[in-house]
Subunit: 496 residues, 2 copies
């Protein structure tokens, strides 16, 4: 396809002068101007010499095997990440999908420089016992303004793992309260829980799916099944693991086959719930991602999720939708589960990453009956809520969900075109909004494409066994889609 080449001749001179330019989006419904670069610009192979020297230094302190390169965050702007060697890359991985509106967004810098906000950064409160005056207001104007359907309660936490751990705990507490008819716990329960024994610490389980990723603390990790490197050598729980549908793409072309596969998985879910109840480890909750991310960008249909939600209800299990990676607008809706069209999509919805604070929403019944059952020192960080409020303002003001839908369509169309042109290399293009992915023929080819792309100024992520995942910020426009496709196309054309 004839991708328009945007790489500008002005590039070099610009860099030497101001490093920043005002760019007017070609495709936005209104004129959006922002501080951003206009294209990638590469000086060295990545990692360059400065990154390599810093890796050596950091290697004396930590395992640096996962470090790609060192960044100059001061000079990064919008969709462009600048490294310490002066390389400027179009970033469609965005710190593992956690930068909502690009680097150094002027609106966020304003939050920082507003003197009224200083105290929120300097005095981190123990939110569970001594919240700041504006805490309820800030929750209403940020997290509650985007609450999933049916949920008016939210608990902030520091990160995604803590959010899921505490969501699990809420489900266990809710389940046991139901079981004991909301009576006080027995003396035996109170006594045995102190020494990790049943009935105080009951043999309850969380049902999760093969390929799932819910975090790496020990509770979350017991529900995570994406890669061995995450789990090897860590003790775990005997919890049931259901198959996640392995669908064929594009979904529209394999409706019948995919429906069969989903039915098979749902049947297995019910079997496991019954089996684990019989084993004496009843399933208190089911946890699932709307799109399995780390596990390889695996999708399922709204029908699958709707039926799964009904199975949870039928068997008295809580239904926990983990939106840590899918939440925050990247699928074109604020929550990926909104695509299911359900009034009552979940009992618990957890988040982190693009929301800048971790946490989870839950239905009223999932609120712990007593204080200090869900608790820790900080319980989140109000300074992150300040940033989130402003991110939501920007999303609304700049119609970023529409933008994501538009860019996502262009991105997916482009990926379809690429896999048509290079069928021996690429397959299974898929996505929702800009939350897109494509498979390479094997992991070595995937890794090679990614390294070549990085050296040409396109920084992407991987997931699953041989998948490239695209996780751009919400300010990723059609202009950037074309840049991305252009670079990928050049690499694939040269690929042996």
């Amino acid at each position: 396809p004839d991708w328009i080449i945007y790489r500008s001749a002005r590039n070099e001179s610009l860099k030497q002068n101001s490093q920043v330019t005002i760019y007017v989006s070609r495709t936005a419904t209104k004129t959006v101007s922002e501080f951003e670069y206009d294209a990638p610009s590469m000086k060295t192979a990545v990692p360059g010499p400065k990154s390599q020297e810093l890796m050596r230094q950091l290697g004396e302190i930590q395992n640096v095997g996962a470090v790609h390169f060192f960044c100059n965050y001061e000079e990064s702007r919008g969709n462009y990440l600048v490294d310490v060697d002066g390389n400027r890359m179009l970033d469609v991985y965005t710190q593992i999908s956690s930068i909502p509106i690009g680097y150094n967004h002027p609106a966020l810098i304003k939050v920082m420089t507003n003197p009224n906000n200083v105290s929120a950064f300097v005095n981190r409160p123990a939110l569970g016992i001594l919240p700041p005056e504006n805490f309820p207001d800030k929750l209403f104007e940020s997290l509650l303004s985007i609450a999933p359907s049916g949920m008016s309660r939210v608990q902030t936490m520091a990160c995604g793992s803590c959010s899921n751990e505490n969501a699990f705990k809420s489900m266990f507490i809710w389940y046991r309260n139901k079981e004991r008819g909301y009576a006080s716990p027995s003396e035996q329960e109170v006594g045995t829980c102190m020494i990790n024994q049943s009935p105080g610490c009951p043999d309850l389980s969380i049902l999760s799916f093969m390929g799932a990723f819910h975090g790496r603390t020990m509770g979350c990790l017991a529900a995570t099944h994406s890669k061995a490197i995450h789990k090897l050598d860590i003790p775990s729980f005997d919890w049931p693991i259901a198959p996640f549908p392995k669908l064929q793409y594009p979904l529209e072309e394999f409706v019948r086959e995919n429906a069969q596969e989903e039915a098979r998985c749902l049947e297995e879910v019910e079997d496991l719930i019954v089996k684990w109840r019989q084993k004496g480890r009843p399933v208190a909750g089911i946890v699932i991602e709307p799109i399995q991310a780390e596990g390889g960008d695996n999708h399922a249909s709204p029908d699958f999720f709707s039926k799964l939600r009904n199975i949870a209800r039928k068997h008295g299990c809580a239904f926990h939708v983990d939106e840590v990676q899918t939440g925050g607008g990247t699928t074109g809706k604020f929550w990926a589960h909104e695509n299911w069209g359900l009034d009552d999509p979940a009992d618990v919805v957890s988040f982190s990453k693009k929301l800048l604070t971790g946490g989870y929403y839950h239905r009223d019944e999932l609120q712990p009956d007593k204080p200090y059952r869900i608790f820790n020192t900080w319980m989140g960080d109000p300074s992150k809520n300040l940033f989130l409020s402003e991110v939501l303002n920007v999303i609304r003001r700049e119609n970023l969900l529409e933008e994501v839908t538009r860019s996502g369509k262009a991105l997916l169309q482009g990926l379809y075109a690429l896999q048509t042109q290079y069928p021996h290399i690429l397959s299974r293009a898929r996505g929702q909004g800009t939350f897109c992915a494509i498979d390479a023929c094997n992991d070595a080819t995937r890794d090679s494409i990614m390294l070549k792309a990085r050296n040409k100024g396109l920084f992407m992520g991987s997931c699953g066994e041989k998948t490239i995942r695209f996780r751009p910020a919400l300010v990723f426009k059609e202009y950037h889609v074309h840049q991305l496709l252009n670079i990928l196309n050049n690499i694939l054309a040269e690929h042996k």
Copy 2:
């Protein structure tokens, strides 16, 4: 005892004018002036009407049973916490021991208003893959400048629970690598770990102590045994739990009895290690607090810890010292374990709270052999490292560890005097630095004293069954000690 009354007549007029005064410490070795109030000042009972209204609002979103009152952090200064009803309290609980140098310290405000730091707040990186340029430098000048003896490696994390969870994981990985002779894992291990089964997810354990608190995520919670409300209804692991010495205070007066009690506990530790090995759940690590905090401020002698460390070494278990609450200078040393006088005090030391970032130090051998084994999206937060660097500068510049030692001595002497004067109410005064505690005769009396004190402008914490814990900031001076003792004395004199 004749506590000097410091409450100043200037109080009212000051409040109406500037709300802030410059105070010159009566006892500091050099003249230290800082922005602080000079005394508590109470307008209403606590919680006042504004706090109650905000509790009602927040109650629609969260369980507020643990909320004491709502705070005006903007107006809080140094050791004084101001609430939304205009009450100003001497705060010796400091957000569950997590405010290192008092509220709104000018040095921290400078960090915030320094334009060079904006980017670190606005662009939160995924530290494990894309660290900022100054990350190694910042680690060297902050965390590594205070590294415990024998440790040159540190991993930051978001909170105390995540720190301990990942420390546990490091110990499991280290232990299994030893067991398999540093060979690659077998296919069976790689396969079984994906479905939570042994040998991939091995039956290893962490030995912890009754009364311990190590956090509330599911791994940490299995090593926590302080209160039933933390643990009830949450599934757990079958891990060994040793008795923590129940010592008599003052320690100097019960040397022989205490040594016997410690010997009993150490013997039990060895028995449990052997027993759990025989059970097929070998102990990979021992975790302990230098002073059990949440569990009731329980101390043990340097001799106990030294012998425990040797037991760990003898049986091939890693030794993890949890300094989440004790670390950061409050015991008069930067780390409480420095009081043991060992060259090789631990294999892992975890921290959070006053350090502002979570994390853990570890010996070289505890570094995971591969990347992505200890990993998450954020792996800490560089903006917290910036604050920590400045906190360490202030501690050094203002000799705060000496200050803590001096204030702590005055505080403990005062508590001794109070328990001598009110032996029917108070007993077991104990402490190291300002990390002090005293027991009431029962929990109702403890709670009543705490509420009365709060209404008189002294905000304290509780722990254990009937203990009051003192956790002031490092800027707590003898001047404040006398204020505290004065208020407590007034309450006790009136106590029936």
